[in-house]
C-alpha cells in the first residue's frame, strides 16, 4: 500500500520530533477518556465499601449501585467511546499534515505551497468523519 508520490510523506530525519508530537496528542486524549473511565471502575468499589447505605439506596426498584453497574454503565461507555473516536479522528485530520504539526510545535512558519497541496485531504477526511459520526 505504498504511495511514494504522496506529498505528505515525512522525511526520515523528522521522524523523531513528529513521533513525539503525534503521540503526545493521541496519548493526552486516551488518558483523558481513560481517567473518567478508571474513576468509575475503581471508584465504585470504594463507594460500595465505605458508603454502603448510599450504594443500597432504592432507585426504580433497583439498588443504586446495581442500577449503575448493571444498567447505566453501558451507555456511559458508549458515550466515552463515541467522544474518543470523534476527537481521535480530529487529531488525525490535524496530524495528516506533518508540516503543520511540526510547524506548530517549533513555531516555524508554514510554507504556503505545502498548505495548498494538503488542503483537499483535510476536507475529504473531515467529510468522512462527519458522515460516519451521525450514525445513531
Amino acid at each position: 500500500m505504498e504511495k511514494p508520490e504522496n506529498p505528505l510523506h515525512v522525511p526520515a530525519d523528522r521522524h523523531h520530533e513528529l513521533a513525539h508530537a503525534v503521540m503526545r496528542r493521541q496519548a493526552a486524549l486516551s488518558l483523558r477518556v481513560a481517567s473518567v473511565f478508571l474513576l468509575m471502575l475503581f471508584g465504585l468499589p470504594l463507594v460500595n465499601y465505605y458508603l454502603p447505605d448510599l450504594a443500597a439506596t432504592p432507585v426504580l426498584g433497583f439498588t443504586a449501585t446495581w442500577l449503575f453497574l448493571g444498567v447505566l454503565f453501558y451507555p456511559i461507555t458508549w458515550l466515552l467511546s463515541w467522544h474518543f473516536v470523534r476527537e481521535s479522528d480530529r487529531i488525525e485530520a490535524e496530524c495528516a499534515d506533518w508540516r503543520a504539526v511540526l510547524g506548530e510545535e517549533a513555531g516555524e512558519p508554514l510554507e504556503p505551497a505545502g498548505v495548498g497541496e494538503v488542503k483537499p485531504a483535510f476536507i475529504e477526511t473531515d467529510a468522512v468523519a462527519e458522515g460516519e459520526d451521525s450514525r445513531p
Binding site: 496519548a27 471502575l41 454502603p52 448493571g70 454503565f73 453501558y74 461507555t77 458508549w78 506533518w98
Partner: protein, 654 residues
C-alpha cells in the same frame, strides 16, 4: 416435546454450515483467508467481532454465576465490555496501523527480533488452546443437558463444523457466520427473557423483593428431586443447608456422606464450632468419624440451624443472633428430595446476594482487594486476547478499526444487559438449581418452568441455539487465530519464508484441520473441569503477558526486546503458576497453610501480575537500553500517525 430444542440446535448448526459454504465462494486469496481481504465494512466487522467475543462464558456463564453469587458478578460483563474500551483507547488504532497481522508480527516488527516472534507464537497457541477448552466443554455439557447426548457428541459436532468452516473459508468465510451469530445470540438472550418477565415479573421487581427482605433466602416453589454429585466433583458435591429454617430431605436411594461441616466455613477465628450432634435429626451413627456415615434408602434427615457463638455470647448481626447450619459433603452420587416451601440449600441470603462483596468477592475476607484484582484481570485480559486482536486487521485502516470498536461497544453493551436479568429471575423462579450446583444451566432451564410446556420448550430451544452459536463463533475465531499463528508465523515466517501465496493458503487450511483436531482432543479431556476456571486461566495469562506487551510496545519508545520478552514471560508464567496453585488448593490436591490474603492473591493474580510485568519491562529495558531499535521513532510514527503519511506496510500480501 423435548425434541423441540434439538430442532433449534440442528437449525443453527445447519445455518452455520450453509453460510460458511456460501461465504467460501468469496474467499480466494491468502489475504481473504487471513484477514478477510481487509475489506469488511464497519457494521459487519463489528457484528463479527461481537459474535466472536460472546462466548459460552458470556452466554451461559454470567447468568449462572450471577444467580449463584449476586452483585459481584456484574463486574464480569461490565469489564468484558470495558476491556474493549481500553483496547479502543490504547491499542486498536496503533496495532492495525502498524500493519502487522498477528501479535507475533508485531513482536518481530517492533523489536526486529525473530526470536521474539517465536515466544509470541507460543503464547498465542497457549492462550488459544486454553480458551478453546471451555468452549468445547460448554458444547459437550449443553448436549447432555438439553438432548441427553453423550459429552463427546457435543464436542465433536461443534469442533468439526467449525473446523470445516475455517478450513474452507478462513477469516472471510467465518466473518459472515460470526456476524449472523451475534444477532442470533442477542435474539436468543433477549427475546425469551421478555416473555419470562411478563410471566414471572420484571427485573427490578425481583431485585426489589430481595431488597425488601434482606435476611430471607429463596424457597422452593415445588418439590424437587436433585441429583447430587460424588466426591470427585468437589466442591460441587456439597449440600449446604439454609440457616433460616429447619430443612427435611429424603434420600430415596440412600446416601454416603463423607463429612459434615458448618455453612459458616469461612467463620471467624473466635467463633465456636458447630454442635455436630445437634444439627442433624435423627443423629446418624458414625457422625463425626473420619469415614463419614451412610443414610439407608428412603430415610429422611432434618438439618437444624444453630446459634453461632462468639466466645461465650451469641454472635449478633442487625439485632439478631447469627445462625449457621450443617453442610454435607457427599462421597457418592445420589438423589435428594426437597419439599416445596423449604429454603433452597446452597443459596446465599438476599442481603449477601443483592449487595456488593457477597459470596464471590467476600470469600477470603479481602473483598475490596478481590474486586480490584478481578477488575484488572478482566479489563487487561480482554485487551490481550489474541483472537480478539487478530480481528482488528480485517479493518481497512486504523480509523475504521476505531469506528468498529465503538460499534462493538454498543453491541456488547446491548447484549450484556440481559444475562444478569436471567440470573435475577432464576434466583426467584428456579432456586432448586442451587442445590444441584446447576446454576450454569439457568438460561436453558428457566424457560421450562413456564406452565405452557410448548412455549417453554420453544424458548429453551432458542436459548440452546444461542448457546451453540456462542460455542461455535468463539471457537471459529480462536481457530482462525491459531491457524494464522501456525501457518503465517511458523510456516510462512520461520520454516518457509520464500513460500508463495498459494502455498500459504494451503498451509492455512492444513493448520486449521490440525489445530481443530487438537482442540477437539483437548475438549474431550476437560469434562470434569470448571468452565469459569479455564476462562480465568486464559484471562490471567493474557492480562499479564500480552496486554503489557501491547501497551508498552505501542506507547513507550524505550522498550527493548529483552525487557518486553522478560516482562511478558514473567507476568504470564507467574500468573499461571498462582492460578494453578489456587486450583490445587481448592480441589484439596495440595495441602499447605496459606493465609486468606495469599489465597486472594493466588486466585486473582492480575493485581500484582500486570504491574509486575510492566515493571519488569521497564527495569530490564533500562538495563539493556542500547538495544532500543535504531529506527524506533519511525516505528512509533507508523503506530500512531494517520495512514495518509504512507508509513503503514502490510504483512499479508494481497
Amino acid at each position: 416435546m423435548t425434541y423441540i430444542p434439538l430442532v433449534f440446535v440442528i437449525l443453527i448448526v445447519a445455518v452455520t454450515v450453509g453460510l460458511g459454504v456460501w461465504a467460501t465462494r468469496m474467499a480466494r486469496t491468502a489475504s481473504d483467508f487471513y484477514v478477510a481481504g481487509r475489506s469488511v465494512n464497519v457494521f459487519w466487522n463489528a457484528s463479527a467481532i461481537s459474535g466472536e467475543y460472546l462466548s459460552a462464558a458470556s452466554f451461559m456463564g454470567i447468568a449462572g454465576l450471577l444467580m449463584k453469587n449476586g452483585y459481584d458478578v456484574l463486574w464480569y460483563p461490565v469489564c468484558y465490555a470495558a476491556g474493549y474500551l481500553f483496547l479502543l483507547l490504547f491499542i486498536a488504532g496503533p496495532l492495525r496501523r502498524f500493519g502487522a497481522y498477528t501479535i507475533p508480527d508485531f513482536a518481530e516488527g517492533r523489536f526486529d527480533s525473530p526470536l521474539f516472534r517465536r515466544i509470541a507464537v507460543t503464547f498465542v497457541l497457549f492462550i488459544g488452546f486454553f480458551y478453546t477448552m471451555p468452549q468445547m466443554k460448554g458444547a459437550g455439557v449443553t448436549m447432555i443437558s438439553i438432548l441427553g447426548w453423550p459429552y463427546w457428541a457435543g464436542v465433536l459436532v461443534v469442533g468439526s463444523v467449525i473446523t470445516f468452516n475455517v478450513a474452507m473459508g478462513g477469516m472471510k468465510g467465518i466473518t459472515f457466520v460470526q456476524a449472523f451469530q451475534y444477532w442470533a445470540k442477542v435474539f436468543a438472550i433477549a427475546a425469551p427473557v421478555f416473555v419470562l418477565m411478563a410471566v414471572f415479573g420484571g427485573y427490578s421487581q425481583h431485585l426489589g423483593r430481595a431488597a425488601a427482605d434482606p435476611r430471607e433466602a429463596p424457597k422452593l416453589e415445588r418439590d424437587a428431586a436433585v441429583k447430587i454429585k460424588g466426591a470427585s466433583a468437589y466442591p460441587a458435591n456439597i449440600l449446604s443447608f439454609s440457616p433460616l429454617s429447619e430443612t427435611t430431605v429424603t434420600f430415596p436411594a440412600g446416601a454416603a456422606i463423607a463429612r459434615v461441616s458448618s455453612s459458616r466455613a469461612q467463620g471467624l477465628a473466635r467463633e465456636t464450632g458447630m454442635p455436630v450432634d445437634k444439627v442433624l435429626r435423627p443423629a446418624p451413627d458414625g457422625l463425626g468419624s473420619a469415614q463419614g456415615f451412610t443414610v439407608p434408602p428412603g430415610a429422611t434427615l432434618t438439618a437444624v440451624p444453630y446459634v453461632v457463638h462468639w466466645g461465650s455470647a451469641p454472635l449478633m448481626q442487625w439485632g439478631q443472633p447469627v445462625r449457621g447450619a450443617p453442610r454435607l459433603e457427599f462421597r457418592d452420587p445420589t438423589t435428594v428430595e426437597i419439599a416445596a416451601g423449604s429454603h433452597a440449600p446452597n443459596a446465599p441470603s438476599n442481603a449477601q446476594w443483592l449487595n456488593p462483596f457477597g459470596p464471590l468477592a467476600g470469600k477470603w475476607g479481602y473483598p475490596l482487594l478481590y474486586t480490584y484484582s478481578l477488575i484488572v484481570a478482566l479489563v487487561c485480559g480482554t485487551a490481550g486476547l489474541p483472537h480478539i486482536l487478530v480481528r482488528f486487521y480485517t479493518n481497512p485502516d486504523g480509523r475504521a478499526a476505531k469506528r468498529t470498536t465503538m460499534l462493538v461497544m454498543l453491541m456488547l453493551g446491548a447484549f450484556y444487559l440481559f444475562p444478569p436479568i436471567w440470573g435475577a429471575l432464576g434466583r426467584s423462579v428456579a432456586p432448586d438449581l442451587y442445590a444441584g450446583h446447576l446454576t450454569d444451566s439457568v438460561v436453558i432451564e428457566l424457560p421450562k418452568r413456564l406452565h405452557n410446556e410448548l412455549l417453554g420448550q420453544v424458548l429453551s430451544g432458542i436459548t440452546a441455539a444461542g448457546a451453540f452459536a456462542a460455542f461455535m463463533s468463539t471457537f471459529s475465531g480462536l481457530l482462525v487465530s491459531m491457524s494464522g499463528a501456525l501457518a503465517h508465523d511458523i510456516y510462512g515466517k520461520m520454516l518457509r519464508p520464500a513460500s508463495s501465496p498459494a502455498q500459504r493458503l494451503a498451509a492455512f487450511k492444513i493448520s486449521a484441520v490440525v489445530a481443530g483436531a487438537i482442540a477437539m482432543g483437548l475438549g474431550l479431556l476437560v469434562e470434569t473441569f470448571d468452565i469459569n476456571m479455564m476462562v480465568g486461566w486464559a484471562f490471567a495469562i493474557a492480562a499479564a503477558s500480552y496486554f503489557p506487551l501491547l501497551l508498552m510496545g505501542s506507547w513507550w519508545r524505550g522498550l527493548t526486546k529483552y525487557g518486553a520478552a522478560i516482562g511478558m514471560l514473567l507476568g504470564g508464567i507467574l500468573s499461571l503458576a498462582a492460578i494453578v496453585t489456587h486450583m490445587l488448593l481448592d480441589k484439596k490436591m495440595l495441602v499447605i497453610q496459606a493465609s486468606p490474603l495469599v489465597r486472594t492473591l493466588l486466585e486473582q493474580p492480575a493485581i500484582w501480575g500486570v504491574p509486575l510485568a510492566i515493571l519488569a519491562m521497564y527495569v530490564v529495558s533500562k538495563l539493556t537500553a542500547r538495544h532500543v531499535p535504531g529506527d524506533v521513532h519511525t516505528k512509533m510514527l507508523r503506530l500512531h500517525a494517520p495512514e495518509e503519511m504512507g508509513l503503514s506496510r502490510d504483512y499479508i500480501d494481497h
